[in-house]
Symmetry: C2
């Protein structure tokens, strides 16, 4: 299993210290096993009768077809579902286009298909540090808000893929000679997330994915045009969060999400697997672990109580948890059950997170800097008083305020 | 022919005065005829032996395959073509996906195919003014930089489509009951355009199109989800510039491009044809006509001399010009010939245009306000001294400065 940076000697950026689990902050035991995508809650909602129901069917159908009757509750009306589903349009298009003909669900169960092959002649890359700088420049031009680079760590690649048509697991088809992972992140819309829970707020998820798919397709094609391999991946193929942490995009939060310096947990993550020679970023630490240790905003706000209230342990609620990593653990069964009842996804944990705040850059920097000091309790108290984490009525969003 | 605003009575926004050609600034004579897309220079480069050559083939192939030999000239190297073609990736994907199987070239010769049908039950729209406000809110959420709304004016719809496989014209398939046109614009990357001419600068075109296709697909799907018709269109189906002018996005410039208040000529335009009840925007006038009358920056900078040096007349250089409209006219044959020789598109006319300047908002507003006064000659003189229109070396862009 590739869980070492075999590029160590060729990486001029991290000088090898990007790789140790200690420096990243991972606490991994001997019980660790790679995750099988069959056990992810979305896969389970198709094959596992404990999860699958008429209501899960209604949940998925609501993304494709109008509800039988439009609700009158603010945030769950005709226009709210219309915009949410329109936001998912581009992502859905790619996810569905080869689903019947080739059993591939791109972006969710399978990587995005390359539109054109890699160039036969590859560009000479004398300096991986310079190449990494260039890749970040290109990723941002192609609309990525953040971009980090790390070595390819096979531990995060799914042990098996899941095939939703056959309801069976299938072999992972990523080639053996991948060496690096480029991780990109897109900010999700702050104002839409203020309206969580609502069908309207699911628009932020859809727009995030659609931006992700566009960036990834273009970035991977750039690498192929240079004559290297590139596999563009969203939720398929591998766990994004540990890779994003290794690539220096942020830290792990109590709600089980990546917390970035720039946008807090308000991001969607994508990645490109490649053999392009690249230098690696160093993981960053800006006080998240200590802050989440004293904060319970997400835990308290989660309606089904799916978020960890305790310490970082190797908790296993059910088979949707990965074994052998001491971390805050969420109960995906409880979480998804709430989604299904709401007929839309939920991001309450993002809305209430004190790292999800909108201020001028300098103020947000000061805010997060203070969160990394003993003043963190004051910040937490202040956050409640300011009340930015409160829900905004969806009708207010529609009115533009 | 629909060239009147039949919605006049239902439009609460423009009170009917959005429709007159005089208020828009169009000078249209009895010789006017709708344009046949067969006569567009890109179509002609396939069927017209006067245009088609081995070199035009090489030009198009360069967007799909590596050149036989990489050039050493700055801006035309492996990485420059690689990023340009990657930027076109998403657009190319849609353009090519149904080309063989259904003879449709989406976004260029045919409108973008709807992924899901319109909802059977349509939302009641009591107030078109409010609906227009909402559509603009949604368009901007879906990444449009500008959005304007006008009535559907059939004069700008191509008389016939062109089928590139059959090399034949085909009937226009837009339904009869379209009433409105939503026009969106996306800013093109300023820094990339500073490097024109170069293969690198074509990246700005590609990114612009890719953003356009994503916005249009989502916006059209939003309207269909509300239960109305929506046809998302890029360069296919109709002439975008007159529609954008009618929708209040800007004025017509000497180089034959739309000049917007916000980004000057640095935009790409898309549109959605719909029967959703909408109020219309008023055309805007901010002094472009008078400024272009005294300015010859684009005319002088155009290597093949394809840009008008005189007054607004009903000039016809060849069949790629539309008859019966007095306007500054470009010679598409000369223009495209230069593209083919460069093996990439050209935007020198955008780079040198004094409306294509990057300054803080307040400064740009002052700048364009002065361009609308008798001080315009001073601005033109100042623009040359400041020298913002000069080419930046492509290698500087790669270095990030």
């Amino acid at each position: 299993m590739k869980n070492k940076n075999n590029n160590k000697n060729s990486c001029n950026g991290c000088h090898g210290d990007c790789v140790s689990d200690t420096s990243v902050g991972f606490k991994i035991s001997e019980d660790f096993k790679r995750f099988n995508q069959k056990n992810d809650i979305f896969s389970r909602s198709f094959w596992d009768d404990q999860i699958h129901s008429e209501k899960t069917e209604r949940f998925y159908t609501s993304y494709r077809k109008p509800l039988k009757e439009w609700k009158k509750v603010d945030g769950y009306q005709h226009r709210d579902f219309s915009i949410r589903n329109a936001a998912w349009h581009v992502t859905d298009f790619f996810a569905e286009r080869l689903e019947k003909s080739q059993d591939r669900r791109e972006g969710f169960l399978d990587f995005l298909t390359a539109h054109r092959p890699s160039a036969a002649e590859s560009r000479d890359i004398p300096d991986p540090v310079e190449m990494s700088r260039e890749i970040k420049h290109v990723a941002k031009l192609f609309d990525a808000d953040l971009c980090g680079i790390t070595f390819y760590d096979e531990r995060w690649t799914y042990d098996k893929r899941f095939n939703r048509n056959q309801l069976e697991e299938v072999e992972m088809d990523l080639p053996d000679d991948i060496t690096n992972t480029i991780v990109v992140a897109h900010e999700m819309d702050y104002e839409l997330l203020r309206t969580v829970p609502s069908a309207l707020s699911g628009t932020a998820t859809g727009v995030g994915y659609s931006r992700d798919v566009t960036t990834l397709l273009a970035l991977a094609q750039y690498i192929r045009n240079l004559g290297y391999q590139a596999y563009a991946s969203m939720n398929d193929t591998a766990l994004s969060i540990p890779m994003a942490i290794q690539a220096g995009l942020g830290e792990y939060g109590r709600h089980g999400l990546l917390i970035t310096k720039e946008f807090g947990p308000r991001v969607r993550i994508g990645k490109v697997f490649t053999d392009l020679p690249l230098a690696h970023d160093k993981p960053i630490h800006f006080g998240v672990e200590k802050f989440c240790s004293i904060c319970r905003e997400c835990t308290k706000a989660c309606p089904p109580g799916a978020i960890d209230d305790g310490n970082q342990l190797e908790t296993i609620y059910n088979q949707s948890n990965i074994p052998g990593i001491a971390k805050w653990t969420t109960d995906a069964e409880k979480c998804f059950d709430f989604w299904v009842k709401q007929v839309t996804d939920c991001s309450i944990c993002i809305r209430v997170c004190p790292y999800n705040r909108k201020m001028p850059n300098w103020a947000f920097k000061t805010w997060t800097n203070l969160m990394a000091t003993p003043f963190r309790r004051i910040i937490l108290w202040l956050d409640k008083i300011i009340g930015q984490g409160k829900r905004n009525a969806p009708s207010n969003w529609w009115k533009g305020h």
